[in-house]
Symmetry: C2
Subunit: 394 residues, 2 copies
């Protein structure tokens, strides 16, 4: 089919074998050697084999991994692995330039997850509160409660979008206690966007000194013309913190690099809470990744094609899929997600966890074409076709 052909034609690099192949190393002897040398390796091999075999549609990962030039750059950087003050490829300026902002507007983190925590540590002192919707990227709320702060979470609207008027009302109502507002755009786990006009409405509607953390982890997958990045609001001098990551489109989740774009004042305020502890390899990899626009376009295209194709097939079986602008989608199954997860797992497919209160919905990440095929086979085995689409509210 078309997707597969276009991927093959471009010599797409993906998965373990390809990564090692690129380095001129045959994975099989490597693993055999490891089995002999390593204590406890028999167990690890087993675990790894089971892991490798699963269709992994549970963590919104990019299944293709770093592109060839990125792997090359990271491999080169092994030569700095024992160093502190090494040349870092100019990663900070590369990120700043790429986004059209001065360097003083950028702070790196070990994944955007670190940045989200740093915002919490900076703005939730003395039990302040974060305002946002639920479900969303829950790590923000969990972190808040871990540091004795609190989350004010609002329900989604009936179409699973975030209600800007409700966010404004809650922020105004709790103004004295609000540390910041959290907006994941597009939202995880629903995949829905907040439009540029709505972001403007939010910023204009809340007291102007309330920081707004806008998590754009899935930015690169958006097609919705009403959506726009919030970086321009930073350059206007608003207390907006935009976060981005190299974990999604760039396929480097386990290498750990993300960043914040915010005003220099906010960056300086946050800096003492940041570790600044980022490995040498991902710094060089990130510089290469920003330049590899062909790989970006390839991942984006194949991911969106597979998402649309899978969603269409599910809809044709009578299952409602929430319109997504990301590398995952959410669908109503009518059964508790924990049972559904087990049914899929028994068929070699990992799917998303429960996202309360949407317990009868399932989040499915877009894997490779083969993984999506395996998902559909399992789905048809687990769920009967419906004649008409059921309610999509869980």
């Amino acid at each position: 089919m078309a997707t597969k052909q276009s991927v093959s034609r471009r010599g797409f690099l993906g998965g373990a074998a390809a990564s090692l192949g690129y380095l001129g190393i045959n994975p099989t002897p490597l693993r055999a050697e490891r089995s002999r040398a390593w204590r406890g390796s028999a167990f690890l091999e087993q675990e790894s084999d089971e892991y490798d075999a699963m269709a992994k549609l549970n963590f919104n990962e990019n299944p293709y991994g770093p592109s060839e030039p990125v792997l090359e750059a990271m491999t080169m950087a092994f030569k700095y692995s024992m160093r502190y003050g090494y040349p870092d490829g100019g990663v900070l300026s590369a990120i700043a330039e790429h986004h059209g902002v001065p360097q003083e507007n950028v702070m790196l983190g070990a994944g955007s997850g670190e940045i989200l925590e740093v915002v919490g540590l900076t703005y939730l002192e003395h039990g302040k509160k974060v305002v946002g919707v639920e479900p969303s990227y829950g790590a923000v709320y969990r972190h808040a409660s871990g540091i004795d702060a609190e989350a004010i979470t609002l329900p989604l609207m009936d179409d699973y979008r975030q209600s800007i008027p409700a966010l404004i009302d809650a922020t105004k109502k709790h103004y004295r206690d609000v540390g910041f507002v959290y907006l994941c755009n597009p939202n995880n786990p629903t995949g829905r966007t907040v439009s540029a006009a709505e972001v403007q409405q939010l910023l204009d509607g809340i007291p102007e000194d309330v920081p707004v953390l806008i998590d754009e982890a899935y930015h690169h997958f958006v097609e919705d013309p009403e959506y726009a990045t919030s970086i321009p609001h930073v350059l206007e001098g608003r207390p907006v913190i935009v976060t981005r990551t190299f974990s999604k489109l760039f396929g480097m989740a386990a290498m750990r690099l993300g960043f914040a774009i915010a005003t220099p004042e906010i960056i300086e305020k946050m800096r003492p809470y940041s570790t600044g502890s980022i490995n040498a390899l991902v710094k060089w990899g990130a510089v290469a990744a920003l330049q590899d626009t062909e790989a970006q376009e390839r991942v984006r295209r194949v991911t969106l094609e597979l998402r649309k194709q899978t969603a269409a097939e599910l809809e044709s079986m009578g299952y409602g899929v929430i319109p997504s602008e990301t590398n995952f989608f959410m669908m109503h199954t009518g059964r508790h997600v924990r049972e559904v997860q087990q049914d899929f797992r028994a068929r070699g497919v990992r799917v998303g966890r429960a996202f309360p209160p949407m317990l009868n919905h399932l989040r499915v990440s877009i894997g490779t074409e083969d993984e999506m095929r395996r998902f559909m086979v399992a789905f048809k085995d687990i769920f009967p076709a419906r004649t008409t689409a059921g309610s999509t509210r869980g």
Copy 2:
């Protein structure tokens, strides 16, 4: 000479060329290719060439880098670089087992630097104070002031050792305001140890609920029989937090992994302040590194040999060297370190920065045999031989 022979005999792996050679990649074509493809690469090449050529004796790095099995394990782990919930080699249990403690006593950090910050964030709320000596690893005090806490720093004794009675007195005097006591053992930048008996004296002498952060980054280089790790005090249930790192003996500073060993209560209290954001490669590398005892012994032996040899040569020229138990030493030059740094830099050698108030002392990290030779050539060029050793107090 003996050092060189023993290193060669064991096929010691060191430096950029060796790392890339191990991967079957010739560094020269790789770099040439990078120059063509990368924006701004001409400048980066230049910077990298100058960096590569310098004798780097300024950051207490292990110049040999990760051993061959460690590079192999890290290279294998590239296959997880796009993942979140991947097999991690059992790194937490490997570290726990290696140190004879349960897993619940261990917390990983992106370098022990992250752990030091986490201790600050956990115990210096509401402007509490950290008590320690100066000079020591200053990042702890800088972080404290960054989060509006404060450091109570005490001078070293005349022999550059840390005064336990003074630490006890200061802790008792400021008891209500003390967040924790910081003890770097052996101390950076002096290289001197605190004996096991002195640690016991400190723990018995301060109020028993005061946490003590014991930074054992240089633990593996100690020969002093009076010294011992403080991990047993953790197992006694004391509020002691021991930190260790894979940056020194294991040569993985830029890969970023360190850890804390503390009571489960303390680990749980610290966890919300930790990012838990560690890259996949260093997790696998660490497991391999703990098992590669031969590489550990090799690095330790050659480093200590070179340190002793260099110190003896300096002493024979009439320059006093502070007795060190680490992979660096400090010496009295009688000139301000900033000038001395420039003189060395002009000769292609980077040496340690200023450590106030010891401004007429110089910290020198132990590099390769070649780097130490270049250091001595530069030293003889910059400093005259003295007939008698001068004062060693700066």
